[in-house]
């Protein structure tokens, strides 16, 4: 385990972790989707979960805010055990923003109402205040001029930026991203990654399930590599991308066309070349 060696260098390592997974087990009937997942997310850190499709990354993310129940282990958010019967899961979810692969905007509401609905219904905020907050966030993601439209009128990239604004409207302590660019046309991937990068630069704690290795390499503080429901390796990006210690990690990265390139890229994320999508494991 390499985590112990480098943990002292991690961002936010001095304080208690924002989110900690301790031997998390998830089963669907007889199949074990997660077989004892352990890692932590510190305050202000961007942690990227990478690995082949079906390796459990997205499942783990849904366990983080209890959209999935777990059969073993613990998920601890800001010192509170989600499995504890005393925990108010709903209160905890309000502090965790989630962004989905398929956006999951509410098609019957305008863009503005999509962003305002959390504060309106969950926080009981007055409509005026909620919509002011929503408009500010739409400005932040560059879509304030779309406020009155319905999601169907927006491109995929725009919809995902609205979804990010919707999650931010609850002023969460951590943002969970579940393959936020996987359903996008290649030309709109960059605009979503830029918004995420800006969020990371502001110090937002983020957990990102992604196949965007450029993003993981340049924005993540910590990489967790999943394979078949297990964490096979974790560490800072430099270590994972330049000197992976586990053969499966090397195999996975080379599958994506990654051959131990040095972390020298400096160009803007928007202009990065479109990388080949992960092939299905065969």
């Amino acid at each position: 385990m390499t985590a112990g060696l480098t943990a002292s260098a991690r961002i936010g390592a001095a304080t208690a972790p924002m989110l900690a997974f301790d031997s998390v087990v998830k089963r669907y009937g007889a199949t074990e989707a997660l077989s004892g997942i352990t890692f932590q997310v510190n305050r202000g850190e961007v942690v990227c979960l990478i690995g082949p499709s079906g390796s459990g990354k997205s499942t783990l993310l849904r366990c983080a805010n209890a959209l999935e129940t777990i059969e073993g282990g613990r998920v601890v958010f800001d010192g509170i055990d989600l499995q504890d019967k005393q925990s108010d899961v709903r209160k905890l979810r309000q502090r965790m923003g989630m962004v989905f692969q398929n956006f999951e905007l509410f098609p019957h509401l305008t863009v503005l109402r999509n962003v305002a609905i959390g504060p309106l219904t969950v926080l009981g905020m007055a409509r005026g205040a909620a919509e002011t907050r929503a408009a500010e966030l739409l400005r932040k993601v560059g879509l304030v001029e779309k406020a009155g439209q319905h999601p169907a009128a927006l491109s995929g990239g725009q919809q995902q930026r609205v979804a990010i604004a919707r999650a931010l409207a609850m002023q969460p302590d951590v943002m969970l991203f579940d393959e936020p660019t996987s359903a996008l046309d290649p030309e709109t991937v960059g605009e979503v990654l830029s918004v995420m990068k800006a969020l990371a630069d502001e110090g937002m704690t983020m957990v990102v399930v992604t196949h965007e290795m450029d993003f993981a390499k340049r924005v993540a503080d910590w990489i967790v590599v999943f394979d078949r429901g297990r964490v096979i390796e974790q560490g800072p990006p430099r270590q994972i991308f330049e000197q992976p210690t586990v053969p499966r990690t090397r195999e996975f990265l080379s599958h994506l066309g990654w051959h131990g390139e040095a972390l020298t890229g400096t160009g803007p994320l928007v202009d990065r070349p479109v990388r080949e999508q992960e092939r299905s494991p065969s």
Partner: protein, 219 residues
């Protein structure tokens, strides 16, 4: 064969009153059967097996038996078995509402189940209660989706109200058939009845078609 339209013209007030009753009965039935159907749909989606089972039995009973039997049942059996005595109008309204509620519940249930799980997750992830997700996110979309089906049910209901004439509710059918038996002018009276139903029903059917088309585009 000579036609004598006076049998219709002389009874025009009664026929129009009957037509009015048909419209009132249709509107009143739907006004009860929309919330009734929604309630039954929620019960059928309940996490409790007993609640689900009871609601399902209720719905299947009304879907599997003829409406005419249900109206007779409410009219004859309810007073005898439960000592509940209602006016003819209330009896007709109750019978029709129970029947249409059962059909509407299937429509609402299908609409609710057609909303994908991701929409639920998006609402729950914001910290909403299940009730809030249902009210703010799932139900508005489900209702939009099933409006065409509800419009079809409305048009069927408008015509099915004619069955209440068997328990002497003075709707259009009852009045027309009564005039027929008084005047023996079968052809004239039935033609007038057909024209009245058609004049009222056609715009409703057209409106239902329009709702169909309109919402198909929006999907």
């Amino acid at each position: 064969m000579t036609l004598d339209w006076s049998s219709v013209w002389d009874n025009r007030d009664r026929l129009l009153a009957g037509a009015g009753m048909t419209v009132v009965l249709t509107a009143a039935t739907m006004a009860l059967a929309l919330p009734g159907g929604l309630l039954l749909a929620f019960l059928r989606l309940s996490p409790y097996r007993a609640v689900r089972g009871a609601a399902t039995s209720f719905v299947e009973f009304f879907r599997a038996t003829p409406l005419i039997l249900q109206i007779y049942w409410v009219f004859y059996v309810m007073p005898a078995a439960f000592d509940v005595r209602l006016s003819e109008f209330a009896t007709a309204l109750l019978g029709l509402s129970l029947n249409v509620s059962a059909f509407n519940s299937e429509t609402f249930r299908a609409g609710i189940l057609s909303i994908r799980a991701g929409q639920w997750n998006a609402g729950l992830a914001l910290g909403m209660t299940k009730l809030q997700v249902m009210r703010e996110i799932v139900l508005p979309q489900a209702v939009m989706r099933v409006l065409p089906a509800l419009a079809s049910t409305w048009v069927s209901l408008f015509k099915d109200t004619s069955l209440v004439s068997i328990i002497a509710v003075a709707d259009l059918s009852y009045v027309a058939l009564k005039i027929r038996s008084e005047t023996y002018r079968i052809l004239e009276v039935l033609t007038a009845m057909a024209v009245l139903y058609c004049v009222m029903g056609y715009p409703q059917a057209k409106l239902a078609d329009w709702v169909h088309r309109k919402l198909k585009v929006a999907e």
